[in-house]
């Protein structure tokens, strides 16, 4: 793969120690030195706001981790969003009180392609090479990018494993990935291209809004669409199926137990103004009533909200002692960080439905401490098959690749399941394949990574700790 290096340097009248200390602080200016980074140490998550347009209208977060830190000398960032690349900073003494600051960006061909596509240049249309094409619509930019860090990597891992195993019915498999930019219309445009390029199935690892848009584009065109992230349900058809956790099951595992351990009973619901939170909050109303609690208030904000001060005030005024968050991605990161900073944690306990490893990492150890969630997969959960999966993932993508999450593990398993269905029935219809996927859940032998029940996943309850999400219990199997 061709990677291009772009570099710039400048000499400043500060010592290397002073320049190094600017990084990630409010004193550091610009998109790199003004990074959001709670700790400047190797392995720490980092978020940089790439200025793509004037007035910040089209800014995009570069999300990654510090992969090498040498105080006063080196800061290296490995990032996966909006493309996979590396950014390095070097500080060398220049005279008695000066520092030569060098920045270098290693941009792979996919990074340049992403930039061009962002400006409207269509993605390349590869010629037919006889491979079976599978589309994956994930999110590399916009508020959803933070929960999608490992989605494309896990889709790639699944396809590499299928090909290493001889492909599907004698054909190699090729993945066509695309970024929906957390935008349903963009998801629809990418789905249109995937149909044109002959994809047999499109996996949507994004919002319910994007799933719905893709489902409409693909209806009646002989292409199967599979939603592979937790969702509120509904909107399915023979050629549109939905995998992943459902709010009613998550809430069952979270609401009553949290009330029992805290003695609290007044809930405030915080979510997004679209179909996902509408569905999740309706389920929450029922779960809370069943558990003998009450709903003290609700606040819905548009996806992409970054200032939650009004919501936090509303929670405080309501007298709620429990918060249910159905916010996703960057919105959830902002809300939890601001809640903690505002002291809301002193009077409330928070349960969050879309809280996976990457989102928690970007919330940070302080604001993430004590948050609870219930999902079907956690990277540190020692269920059968998981150590092997994590081992294969690290071998393929390295130490600093983002955590495997419930969302990315689901797209991985969904692609494998689909490949098995297609292998058995290569000439079947999309509807036939959809039905086969819906049937494939009858399994004995408990929860095994690589053969999870994606329709009614076994849920585990986990809590945010400084070390990450720690599994604290197993939910009763859902009915």
């Amino acid at each position: 793969m061709q990677t291009t290096t772009v570099a710039a340097e400048r000499t400043v009248a500060r010592t290397p120690h002073e320049v190094f200390a600017l990084f990630g602080t409010s004193r550091g200016a610009g998109w790199v030195f003004g990074a959001r980074c709670d700790e400047v140490r190797t392995g720490a998550p980092v978020s940089l706001r790439l200025p793509l347009g004037e007035q910040g209208r089209h800014d995009v977060d570069v999300l990654g981790r510090l992969c090498r830190v040498v105080p006063a000398a080196v800061i290296d960032i490995e990032h996966t969003q909006p493309w996979r690349g590396r950014l390095t900073l070097r500080f060398t003494p220049a005279g008695p009180r000066g520092t030569r600051v060098q920045a270098r960006a290693h941009v792979p061909a996919e990074g340049v392609e992403w930039l061009l596509h962002r400006r409207g240049i269509p993605l390349p249309e590869p010629p037919d090479d006889g491979a079976i094409r599978l589309g994956v619509i994930a999110t590399s930019s916009g508020p959803g990018a933070v929960y999608s860090l490992s989605a494309e990597l896990m889709a790639e891992l699944a396809v590499d494993e299928i090909n290493a195993d001889g492909g599907i019915a004698g054909h190699p498999v090729r993945l066509l990935p695309a970024d929906d930019a957390t935008d349903a219309e963009q998801a629809a445009a990418e789905a249109e291209r995937m149909v044109r390029l002959g994809c047999r199935a499109v996996f949507v690892n994004s919002t319910s809004a994007s799933f719905d848009a893709v489902r409409r584009v693909l209806a009646g065109r002989g292409v199967l669409v599979v939603h592979t992230v937790l969702n509120e349900g509904g909107g399915v058809s023979p050629t549109a199926i939905r995998f992943g956790e459902r709010p009613h099951a998550q809430l069952e595992a979270l609401v009553a137990p949290t009330m029992a351990t805290t003695g609290a009973r007044r809930w405030f619901l915080v979510g997004e103004g679209y179909v996902w939170s509408y569905g999740a909050h309706a389920a929450a109303q029922r779960a809370i009533a069943r558990a003998g609690g009450e709903v003290a208030g609700e606040a819905l904000s548009p996806l992409g909200t970054s200032d939650f001060s009004a919501t936090i005030d509303a929670v405080r005024r309501s007298g709620a002692d429990l918060v249910l968050s159905t916010l996703v991605g960057a919105d959830e990161v902002a809300f939890e960080r601001q809640s903690e900073a505002a002291g809301l944690r002193e009077s409330t306990r928070t349960v969050s439905l879309a809280l996976e490893e990457s989102t928690l990492a970007h919330i940070g150890p302080r604001a993430g401490n004590g948050l609870r969630t219930a999902l079907g997969y956690f990277q540190d959960n020692p269920v059968a098959g998981n150590a092997e999966l994590v081992g294969r993932y690290r071998a393929a993508f390295g130490t600093w690749a983002p955590a495997i999450t419930a969302l990315s593990e689901t797209v991985y398993e969904a692609i494998h399941q689909y490949a098995r269905v297609l292998h058995r029935d290569p000439d079947g219809s999309a509807a036939g394949h959809g039905q086969a996927l819906m049937r494939s859940r009858d399994r004995a032998g408990g929860d095994v990574v690589g053969a999870r029940d994606l329709l009614r996943p076994q849920l585990y309850v986990a809590e945010g700790r400084p070390s990450g999400l720690q599994v604290v219990g197993e939910a009763a199997p859902t009915r």
Binding site: T5, A8, T11, V12, V32, G53, V101, A103, G120
Partner: protein
């Protein structure tokens, strides 16, 4: 030249412009009429004005053949622009090390470098 609305990555916000680029990507070189015919609910005048912006931004090239004008994607120009953009944001990045310091050394030595490998 018009002011630089081109360098803003605003294609996402402008659906028509994005649509024009997609049509050119799919069909290669087309006339204004051909483009307008492939985009619903948008007339030739609108397409022409968007094409002007896209040409100024270096995303589209124009070819004249007698009285006709044909348009196609200028991918090479767009790639050049992408590197100019990356270079400019890296300069902004290192400038951040100096921005809050009143006694900044002269902004010399900002030569960029580009290599492929």
């Amino acid at each position: 030249m018009e002011p630089n609305e081109n360098l803003a990555f605003d294609a996402l916000s402008d659906r028509v412009r994005r649509r024009i680029l997609a049509v050119l990507g799919e069909h290669g070189e087309l006339s204004v009429g051909d483009i307008a015919g492939r985009i619903d609910a948008v007339g030739r005048t609108t397409v022409s004005s968007h094409l002007r912006v896209l040409r100024t931004s270096g995303l589209v090239r124009e070819r004249r053949d007698g009285r006709n004008r044909f348009y196609s994607l200028d991918v090479d120009g767009a790639v050049r622009d992408a590197f100019v953009f990356l270079q400019s944001i890296l300069h902004q990045a290192v400038a951040g090390a100096a921005a809050t310091d009143p006694s900044t050394a002269e902004p010399a030595g900002t030569d960029g470098e580009r290599d492929t490998g």
